[in-house]
């Protein structure tokens, strides 16, 4: 190895034009590789290492069903991408451990082929194309996020390969008249609706609500649906304001909100955005002495970070979740219940499952039962079986409407009580009572 780099350690005099050098050079050159060969072998080594890794991923045989997925393992949504991947991987591991998928008299093992799209929709589309035409995958699982799904679903549609996605909730994905896209998660409109329903189920429900929303497409879609739902159910929307996505200071918005309900604080504050913005809202509400009777955020309260950053101030806050381990579903799949899924997931990956992982596993289950029902691995027949699918799993109901969205699964409302996440609504799956009203933030 040292000899390889001996060029770099040549003494300076060695390079000058003197007789002394030329004799020195001829002596040593016999034991040294020429530079071009070194460079060439380095290049070859590089190509081999990437090439070998490429073919080492999956073993394809006639009795293996290959599922492809472009996932963001690096870039801005890397964390969520990894959770998505773990969900897919858990499904693959368990389905193979339970004997694979039975189609007629043949049993298929399942393999997953995934690429990292670097959180770029352009790359995601390119890799979807690669998965379909070069890797010849049988079916597609979705990427993480709406932006990538919008581009990938168009390619799936063109090649008529069904794609079940688990991590894009925007209505836009399903409003294009495509026939090969299915999403297992509840659509964006449900995120705020379920929390408003929980609030309305109280004996003395909040009457006025203020809605603040980040300006990304998903958050705005949620906020618009929330406003419509609140208005149609007799709540008064006293304040509605969007702010730039990723904002670190919401003082301006909250100051305006403070006196929006006929000169007072609204009964309920609903935030549609991201975890960091939910944390900021709570901190600044305390500073500004804004005491609503109920705080609710679409994204944030379900994550452990929310509780650790806010401490006792996190208590009483409502959140919505696609899935929680506390829900009480009795599924027909091998996971059966959310609690059992949580146990198996923890055994496999060593940490708590998030809803992103559960959704992703559910996408695999949707394929599994659709393929069994179709009795075929023909993409067209499996697509038709997906359209007809109606099953209850550990994740809840999986059933698609005409656009491919799973509008039949309710979301869950969670509340933080004594630093723990509990499920409070819908009543059938809840494990705790909704605590109301929230005591003033200064008295904790």
């Amino acid at each position: 190895m040292i000899r390889l780099f001996s060029y770099l350690h040549l003494p300076r005099r060695h390079l000058a034009h003197t007789g002394h050098d030329s004799s020195f050079q001829s002596r040593s050159s016999a034991t040294r590789l020429p530079l071009p060969i070194i460079l060439l072998s380095l290049l070859l080594a590089l190509l081999c290492s990437t090439g070998l890794l490429a073919c080492g991923g999956t073993a394809s045989s006639s009795n293996t069903l290959l599922f492809g997925a472009p996932i963001s393992l690096t870039g801005s949504t890397a964390t969520e991408g990894h959770l998505t991947l773990e969900g897919y991987q858990l499904w693959v591991k368990e389905v193979n451990a339970h004997g694979g998928i039975k189609v007629g008299n043949t049993t298929y093992q399942v393999a997953l082929k995934y690429y990292d799209d670097g959180s770029s929709p352009t790359r995601s589309a390119q890799l979807t194309q690669q998965l379909i035409t070069a890797d010849k995958v049988n079916f597609l699982l979705g990427p993480y996020g709406t932006s990538a799904t919008l581009q990938d679903e168009a390619i799936a549609e063109r090649y008529k390969i069904p794609m079940v996605e688990a991590n894009g909730a925007a209505k836009a994905i399903f409003s294009r008249g495509f026939h090969y896209i299915f999403g297992v998660l509840s659509p964006a409109s449900e995120y705020a609706k379920v929390m408003l329903e929980a609030a309305l189920s109280l004996p003395t429900p909040p009457r006025t609500v203020a809605i603040i929303s980040a300006n990304d497409s998903f958050s705005e879609e949620v906020a618009t649906a929330a406003r419509d739902f609140a208005l149609s159910h007799g709540m008064e929307v006293v304040y509605y304001q969007t702010y730039p996505s990723g904002a670190t200071d919401l003082t301006g918005v909250l100051t305006a909100l403070k006196t929006s309900a006929h000169g007072g604080v609204p009964d309920m504050l609903l935030g549609s955005g991201h975890e960091s913005e939910a944390v900021t809202t709570m901190k600044e509400c305390k500073q500004l002495n804004i005491n609503a009777k109920l705080y609710a955020f679409t994204v944030g309260p379900a994550t452990p970070d929310f509780i650790t950053s806010l401490g006792p101030d996190a208590n009483y806050v409502l959140g919505s979740s696609q899935w929680t381990p506390q829900e009480r579903y009795q599924g027909i799949d091998f996971f059966g219940t959310p609690a059992n899924y949580e146990r198996i997931y923890k055994q496999t990956f060593g940490h708590e499952p998030s809803y992103q992982s559960a959704e992703s596993t559910a996408a695999g289950l949707a394929f599994q039962y659709a393929i069994q029902n179709a009795g075929s691995i023909d993409p067209q027949k499996v697509r038709d079986a997906l359209a007809r699918l109606n099953i209850t799993t550990f994740y809840g109901v999986i059933r698609f409407d005409a656009t491919g969205a799973n509008t039949f699964k309710p979301m869950a409302t969670i509340q933080i009580q004594n630093g723990q996440v509990v499920t409070v609504y819908p009543k059938e799956v809840a494990n705790a009572q909704l605590l109301y009203p929230t005591p003033p933030l200064s008295q904790r």
Binding site: L10, L15, T74, A134, R158, A170, A172
Partner: protein, 360 residues
């Protein structure tokens, strides 16, 4: 705008006032090198036109992206390479092209109208924005362009152009992938020919003069301000055309996708890696870089981005003049009494110097 500077040939008549003449005397025998790089580029593009024959859709997809980035890098080269004004916000024009096309298709107009409208709008915006922005230089210019692109991304999201949050979903395109490929190919060819023209014409020399010394160029009578604006418009129009094609081809996008600062960075990266201000540089590095990065991406290695970054760092440290510059150095006639081996040794010595200078 360029008319007054472009006289077909013989520049010797006005050698004292025109920078073009100076350029020709400064460079020994430029005429012999230029047709070769022109020919090489045309051969590369002609070979690229054969890609659809392979019949492999994944390859075609990758090469479509290669040509798209070749267009973006080549048009960035007009301003960044020739004129020496490094814009970090050229993705702005890409986004403008994409949104013009997307919104016009949504309103029922044919797609080609949208693409052309996008180019016109981008050209006008480049002119209007260039008026204040091109009074800035160096870092200030880079920051201003970056700011424009970032601000526009937010604005599009807030105004809900297209759908909520600026999402645009288009129907599946009526054109085949091969048609898209050749549209990008034509655009890449046009950019290449334009670069070839600039490399050998008075307007091009004027831009190079601005890069080398703006004061000197001004003193020699070049209306530098208007030339810079011209170069800005020139780099905006093909970028917007590519954005428009991308919009229809990808069928769905949102502001973070088409106003992605990463695209701006890639334009700069490709041009600098290939050789800023050269004819072949952006084209060749678009091909090599995109193929390499795709190979890394499908390698399944978790470190593909790190590997790619490392490769870029190595190239910029060891061949700062770009790939084209490196090749030119190897093709350069040897000094008398110098063997190929000594040239190599000299190169190695330079590598050592870089390493020594960095204290390794």
């Amino acid at each position: 705008m360029f008319g007054s500077w472009h006289k077909p040939s013989t520049s010797s008549t006005a050698a004292t006032t025109e920078p073009g003449a100076e350029q020709q005397t400064a460079q020994p025998k430029p005429g012999t090198r230029w047709p070769w790089s022109l020919l090489t580029g045309l051969i590369i593009l002609a070979l690229a036109a054969l890609i659809p024959l392979s019949g492999d859709a994944a390859t075609l997809h990758t090469w479509t992206l290669i040509l798209m980035f070749a267009v973006l890098a080549q048009s960035w080269n007009f301003l960044g390479g020739f004129t020496g004004y490094a814009s970090f916000g050229n993705v702005f024009f890409f986004g403008v092209g994409a949104y013009s096309t997307g919104l016009l298709i949504l309103s029922g107009r044919p797609f080609w109208l949208g693409v052309l409208a996008g180019a016109v709008v981008a050209g006008l915006l480049a002119f209007l924005l260039g008026l204040p922005v091109l009074r800035l230089r160096g870092h200030y210019f880079a920051i201003a362009t970056l700011g424009i692109a970032e601000a526009t991304r937010e604005l599009v999201a807030i105004r809900n152009l297209g759908g909520s949050g600026g999402e645009v979903e288009l129907p599946l395109p009526a054109l085949s992938d091969t048609t898209f490929y050749f549209l990008f190919w034509l655009l890449a060819l046009a950019c290449f020919l334009l670069t070839a023209y600039l490399a050998r014409s008075k307007p091009g020399y004027a831009l190079i003069a601005i890069r080398e010394s703006e004061e000197t160029a001004e003193a020699m009578g070049i209306p530098t301000y208007w030339y810079k604006i011209g170069a800005f418009v020139l780099s905006a129009v093909p970028t917007a055309l590519a954005g428009g094609l991308y919009a229809y081809w990808s069928t769905g996008f949102d502001p973070p996708t088409v106003f992605d600062v990463g695209i701006s960075v890639e334009m700069v990266l490709l041009t600098v890696l290939g050789g800023a201000g050269t004819l072949l540089g952006p084209l060749i590095s678009a091909i090599l870089f995109e193929l390499l990065s795709f190979q890394f991406q499908i390698s399944g290695s978790a470190f593909h981005n790190s590997l790619l970054g490392l490769t870029i760092a190595m190239v910029t440290i060891f061949i700062p003049q770009g790939l084209v510059g490196l090749v030119q150095e190897f093709l350069r006639p040897l000094a008398p009494g110098m063997s190929r081996r000594q040239l190599l040794v000299e190169g190695v010595r330079r590598v050592r110097r870089v390493i020594a200078a960095n204290g390794v």
